[in-house]
Symmetry: C2
Subunit: 109 residues, 2 copies
DNA sequence: TAATATACCTAGATAATCTATGTAAGGAGG
DNA sequence: CCTCCTTACATAGATTATCTAGGTATATTA
């Protein structure tokens, strides 16, 4: 039973919400689509993270009834969330650059 | 007290060992240097990982006395380790591409 | 009417990393 | 000589993130 390891859940969620308001279940589908199925986020991962982010004030939730008649819980990015997204994007870039720097030097020497 | 989050410890270790045999403490110094201090791996993280990798057969250890007189435990990459490195590099590329794909679409729409 | 997809949720297990600590030897400075 | 800092190894226990595995409920399809 190997772990899937998404790791940057919050960054990904904030990034999705930068485009438009979406609901939890849709995030899972969207992440899979945009990543060509590299990300298969589990509900057990996402929902607790969303609740924590709402509590932290980076996202805000509101309910809305879909044309199908089902109720969905949409999330939108707050101002604080926008700042957080910028920070996390920078941190990701820093981290990815660092990994690549180590991988590159491997080729030499 | 925030966690530092290195996350790809094993990939980084294997990558360092692709250049030459080094010892644990040196890995920490090297990772910091090559990553410009983005990585500050803790001994409590590294040593257990090294022992697990040795047990898994991706690295092999041997002791050697340094010119200073101190004994160091060097690690070298095994054949299996080389395969593992290739796999993990591919997985990292896949993962990084997926994150970047999600971040990119954020800019549009 | 049974199965599948949608849509939310949580408790507990697992895994990765960190904190904190310990041992021990060498070098530098007072 | 004594103290402190650096080097170099190591482990136990805490913390955190993610997953597994369940649960509820409605709508659609076979």
């Amino acid at each position: 039973m190997k772990k899937q390891s998404i790791e940057h859940t919050q960054l990904l969620v904030l990034s999705l919400l930068a485009s438009r308001d979406i609901y939890g279940y849709e995030m899972i589908v969207e992440l899979a689509r945009r990543s060509q199925n590299v990300f298969e986020m589990k509900e057990g991962t996402l929902y607790p993270v969303l609740h924590a982010m709402e509590k932290a004030g980076t996202v805000a939730a509101y309910e809305q009834t879909a044309p199908t008649g089902r109720t969905r819980k949409y999330y939108r990015l707050t101002q604080k969330g926008r700042g957080c997204l910028a920070d996390e994007k920078a941190a990701w870039a820093r981290y990815a650059d660092a990994v690549n720097a180590v991988l590159r030097t491997e080729a030499l020497s």
